[in-house]
Amino acid sequence: MTTSTLDHAHDDHHGHAHDHDHAHDMPTGARRWLFATNHKDIGTLYLWFAFIMLLSGGVLALMIRTELFQPGLQFFRPEFFNQLTTMHGIVMVFGAIMPAFVGFANWMIPLQVGASDMAFARMNNFSFWLLPPAAILLATSFFVPGGATAAGWTLYAPLSTQMGPGMDMAIFALHIMGASSIMGSINIIVTILNMRAPGMTLMKMPMFCWTWLITAFLLIAVMPVLAGAITMTLTDRHFGTSFFNAAGGGDPVMYQHIFWFFGHPEVYIMILPAFGIVSQIIPAFARKPLFGYASMVYATASIAILSFIVWAHHMFTTGMPVTSQLFFMYATMLISVPTGVKVFNWVATMWKGSMTFETPMLFAVGFIFVFTMGGFTGLILAVTPIDIQVQDTYYVVAHFHYVLVAGSLFALFAGFYYWAPKWTGHMYPEGRGKAHFWLSLITFNITFFPMHFLGLAGMPRRYADYAVQFTDFNMIVSVGAFGFGLSQVYFLFAVVLPTIRGGEKALAKPWEGAEGLEWTVPSPAPFHTFENPPLVK
């Protein structure tokens, strides 16, 4: 990719964009969105859906932090508190982060590989429109008798069999979202493998496409595993089976094995596309090609393959045999090697570059810095004895928020600032973007850094109430959490909406050092692009 040049006259595109001689005119009104088959419209739908879910999940998180501001029960009963933690997890993982990356894939993959649209346009529509019913199921489950599921986002059996109908609604919601993810992945794989512009070999592809290609294979491999686990939970609940019930010959730990066989690749599903976005942005603002493109691809693939053989590191305290504990410890520690390669490559890309720090670059550098801290705690957690000491404490909560918020979410923000000019045709307000970055970075650390100390000292997670010795750190955490939440409201009202409504007109290529086919089409990208594939040398 980095060495490719384009042999494509820009005027050509304009010719096509204004050429309305073929059948599909741009539909208007509700039909445009309901029957959307255009990858850009569907990408926009995904992104808005994800952002709404992000804010909803954020409200749940702030309710959690309100209760935990001080010891004692002030606002919520413990049974409702458990619903909050559970739904916060499910909404953020399946409603916010995953759909947001699919939204980016929809928008950017056809533009980056020079395809006119996604391979299966109508399936693409179906993938998206499955999501709102799932979200409605999750939201309304709070109002059924017994409330939403309170078994934790991992839905461990046999606690999950004690839940009311809210649990069944969550199971159906997960099934629907899983089906959506699988269809989305098929679309992405076929688009990338079959619809690349002539001359764009796989090893010339932008890193974002590479990471998504690998992610899509992970999704297809593991979403059915999750579906299996929750279907067994469903039949245990209603049809008298005993998959996870020891009294009937089942095993509660088997649920955990199946769940984490899905769950561990799932965390890479949420981080690999983030690696892709960062790998696009760093070279653009360092004005220097990505260091070690090939090793980036191999590192991504290695991480994906290793992700299938580390699942039981989530289960060290279930009491596995010593050989299993050692195997899963070694395999998990091994993941730090390809992950390290990625970080080193990014730093080497920056080295001797000619850097500027517009908001996308700030978020990308912030990502590397803070994600790496999550990586280190991951390495520490990989060591079985230490993991046993901090399992199910706030140390783990800190770790996965460092990789999921400072990792995935920061990369999504970086990607938004980088590509919003292409999407909207306007430059975002730079000063406000930078304010959003610094607010997010600082409040993020105020929120999650003290959790390391709480976890090491032994504060268990998913607790509605805690020992008085933990009070001060919990107060800091709650204050930080409200700051972080408000920063995202600022992002919506001060950055996103103003950028969509107006602002400085964006050039076709607003970033001096950016490379790739997406910058060869005008900003905003016309409804139809690359009707004639460009030629990549």
Partner: protein, 395 residues
């Protein structure tokens, strides 16, 4: 806590934070301390291994962190366009790339080797002096001394922090929270110092997990299965932990407390406990008055039933059955005895009633009598004698 003490704690924390183990030997409290920045001070060999393993990993990670981000931030400040830096064009170097794959690999091995030793040691539960079974229940722990001195001792361990300290939504706590808030129980597990204790873990209903951070022991309690782990506490004291696997509503309210005592004190405790148990052992032929049964039943109810069925007997809609006005409580007593002994699972409520066979005949008789004469209940058969429970058991 005075400011001097706070400062002291902070300094200690800093010392630990930068990993100078010599300075980091705070007093052993057996519970977390305010502003604690590292693990609780270990009182077992395994705990000490884990503590130093963690310090070692922190040092390595910090060195790498400073190295990598030193380079990155040097670059961030020096290689800027605004400083007129012209971009280089290099984009690969096989030698460098191989080096930074191999070196981390070696570092990882350096971390895995000492950890392996600890893993193997943690799994070795052989040659224990004492074997204790802990059973997780929603939401309390049960202890059975299975083997070694004190064999046969069994008791339940409930949270002893009063509700008046916890408060509830909309109702503030009326009593100040103590230093062992949510870390105190009515019956502590007692073990002798310096002896290898094998813990056998299981659960009655859902998965729980048993931990004492100062012992560095943590093991899930899985219903229908037994798993084991072990510890050997080297210092006399009281050590506190929590249930650490989400187990439903009162997950945060089932702490674990282990009191480590000298072997003489332990023998004395065993003797008292055995006497207590003998005194508690039932004479099933005794005939109780209804008031005696109601008084005893109220205590049994508060210890065992209130978490689900609630103090007002109304249960939790769709989850836990109400007893106030219940057909079972107001109907034939034989059926209620059977429900208590064998449990009951009806589709009307998400949670099943567990079996309560482990309670004594008089406990069961008393609690049934209590429920039949409390709230709005006025059962026709309003009294159950221990002998009837005993008879029902042998059926």
């Amino acid at each position: 806590m005075t400011y001097a003490k706070r400062l002291h704690a902070l300094m200690l924390g800093l010392a630990v934070g930068i990993s100078i183990p010599a300075l980091a030997a705070p007093e052993i409290t057996g519970r977390p301390v305010e502003h604690q920045l590292n693990m609780q001070t270990p009182v077992t060999g395994i705990g000490a291994d884990i503590y130093s393993l963690h310090n070692w990993m922190m040092i390595v990670c910090l060195v790498i962190f400073v190295g990598v981000f030193g380079v990155m931030f040097y670059s961030v400040f020096k290689h800027r366009k605004s400083r007129g830096h012209k971009p280089a064009t290099f984009h690969e170097s096989t030698a460098v790339e191989i080096a930074w794959t191999i070196v981390p690999f070696l570092i990882v091995i350096g971390m895995a080797l000492p950890a392996t030793k600890t893993v193997v040691a943690m799994k070795d539960t052989s040659n224990a002096d004492l074997t204790i079974k802990a059973t997780g229940m929603q939401w309390k722990w049960g202890y059975d001394y299975l083997k070694g001195e004190g064999e046969g001792i069994a008791f339940l361990s409930n949270l002893s922090t009063p509700r008046t300290q916890i408060g509830e939504p909309g109702v503030a706590n009326t009593e100040a929270r103590g230093e062992n808030y949510l870390l105190e129980v009515d019956n502590e597990m007692v073990v002798p110092v310096g002896k290898k204790i094998r813990m056998v873990l299981t659960a009655n209903d859902v998965i729980h997990a048993w931990t004492i951070p100062a012992f560095a022991i943590k093991q899930d309690a899985i219903p229908g299965f037994v798993r084991d782990s072990w510890f050997r506490a080297d210092k006399i004291g009281t050590y506190r932990g929590n249930c650490v696997e989400l187990c439903g509503k009162d997950h945060a309210f089932m702490p674990i407390v282990v009191r480590v005592v000298s072997s003489e004190d332990y023998s004395a405790w065993v003797a008292t406990k055995k006497k207590e148990m003998a005194a508690l052992a039932d004479d099933p032929t005794k005939v109780w008055t209804i008031d005696e049964l109601k008084t005893k039943g109220e205590a049994v109810y508060a210890a065992n039933c209130v978490a689900c069925h609630q103090a007002n007997g109304k249960g939790v809609p769709n989850t836990f059955a109400p007893l106030d006005g219940s057909a079972v409580v107001n109907g034939a007593k034989a059926h209620q005895v059977e429900v208590l002994l064998n449990g009951q699972d009806t589709p009307a409520y998400a949670a099943a009633m567990p079996a309560w066979k482990q309670l004594s005949d008089s406990d069961i008789a008393a609690v049934i009598t209590y429920t039949r004469n409390t709230w709005s209940n006025k059962a026709a058969e309003n009294i159950v004698q221990p002998a009837e429970v005993l008879a029902a058991r042998s059926k």
